[in-house]
Amino acid sequence: MRAQFVLSEIGVGLRRNLTMTFAVIVSVALSLALFGGSLLMSDQVNTMKGYWYDKVNVSIFLCNKSDAESDPNCAKGAVTDDQKKQIKADLDKMDVVQKVTYESQDDAYKHYKEQFGDSPLASSLTPDQMQESYRIKLKDPEKYQVIATAFDGRDGVQSVQDQKGILDNLFGLLNGMNWAARAVMALMLVVALMLIVNTVRVSAFSRRRETGIMRLVGASGFYIQAPFIMEAAVAGLIGGTVACGFLVIARYFIIDHGLDLSHKLNLINFIGWDAVLTKLPLILATSLLMPALAAFFALRKYLKV
């Protein structure tokens, strides 16, 4: 096959259908940008999960003297040494527990001072107003419920708190947004495919003279179809490149510059450039193959070979 001939055919085809080609490029770009965005969002959520789940504990807060007066859970008085020993022994026996650390009232006071040292509240606080607690690291952060059922309501225990619960709300929200992005992406993808099929149909119709002659003089089916398929592939690839540009720009402006979230929200561990760059080949390959396949199937219907 002579490449020059095919290339000139593609150029002619794309220009003849300029508005349709433009629509294909835009819809492919948008759907694939959303596709890449949703992939990156999943990555981001996973990165955050890994980072935060590593740090979260289940805490068993024990009753102190002031709780004994105010909190119904502590009606039986402040925690005793025997109760503490029993709790520790029970925790050590549990399979799901990876590590237990004990935080005394003095430790809690120290940590509180470190975090909120300058606030007026901190200066009026004394160590025996703080709570003793056991900080439990679980082998599987999902197994919080086992601890809660075992220790909630036990004498001397004020409450069992799972920090992960707070995070899960956040991750739930992020996941919800991610699914919404995927739904929009799927819709855009359908639009893109329909546009491609229609573009190929118009293209095949406007070139029916040429293809008719090609058939008669014995051009192979591949030779007749190739310009149409490559046309769709080229338009798709342009769209895919634009989508890649979107992602790179988005990573650059949202995380590093412009919005600069990496400095404003330094509690969050953001995905790196590697996460973005590894998505680009996938997006480019999709942008090339998906329109080519759509064109191929459209041609079976609209172009007799």
Binding site: F5, E210, I213, M214, V217, G218, S220, G221, I224
Partner: protein
């Protein structure tokens, strides 16, 4: 070259067959007129040879191949050995005369060198030497048909199919086209031509095949158009 054995063709959604039990043979190097009124099955006959359609019953052999058993992907190879000319010329209006002829070679992957050599040759043969760079719209009907014949013949087919090639031309121009087809026939190319042109058939005195309502009603060597029963 062409052999029809008891060929019938029924189009889907139609009860009356377009061809009914047609058997005939065309030898290599023959010149055959295909006559009959509109709807008699001439076009179907030609479409079966080109394998644009497949027959419903019987067998069609072209160039020694049973077309029913020819797989789809081999059809282009078969068509490269056929040339086709139509009443409406079917030229590409945005390409020059030379480009139109070259197109038939480009799309089957002929090399540039080959195209540069054969296009002027075939344009000389059809009497259009010197008009290579003209656009089809600038040419007369007869000249346009010559371009179409050049395009059909440039790949040196063994068989030339012509579907009313003089249908849009005045009698004098038609005679010119017939002389050209005769010359092509003399190079050894088999020609099958469907026509309504009585004068031409009567003058040429070639084999005449007449179809009527899908049946073969006459097959006459050195025949005339209107056969008196």
């Amino acid at each position: 070259m062409i052999r029809f054995d008891n060929v019938s063709k029924v189009y889907p959604k139609q009860t009356r067959p377009a061809l009914r039990d047609v058997s005939l043979e065309v030898e290599k190097g023959e010149f055959v007129f295909l006559v009959g009124s509109s709807g008699s099955g001439k076009s179907t006959f030609l479409r079966l040879i080109l394998r644009e359609e497949r027959c419903s019953h019987g067998q069609v052999h072209v160039l020694g191949k049973d077309l029913a058993r020819l797989s789809n992907w081999k059809v282009p190879q078969m068509r490269r050995q056929l040339g086709t000319v139509f009443q409406d010329f079917r030229l590409l209006p945005n390409k020059t005369v030379a480009e139109n002829v070259a197109f038939a070679q480009e799309v089957i992957g002929k090399s540039k060198g080959e195209i540069r050599k054969s296009v002027p040759q075939v344009l000389d043969l059809v009497g259009l030497g010197g008009k290579e760079e003209r656009m089809p719209g600038e040419l007369s009907g007869g000249e346009q048909q010559r371009v179409a014949i050049a395009r059909a013949f440039v790949n040196r087919p063994k068989l030339l199919i012509a579907d009313e090639p003089t249908g849009n031309l005045d009698p004098q121009t038609s005679v010119g086209i017939m002389k050209l087809l005769d010359r092509i026939n003399r190079t050894g190319t088999t020609v099958v031509m469907a026509t309504h042109d009585q004068n031409i058939v009567d003058q040429m005195r070639k084999r005449v095949i007449e179809l009527e309502k899908g049946r073969l009603v006459r097959d006459q060597a050195r025949g005339v158009y209107g056969y008196q029963h």
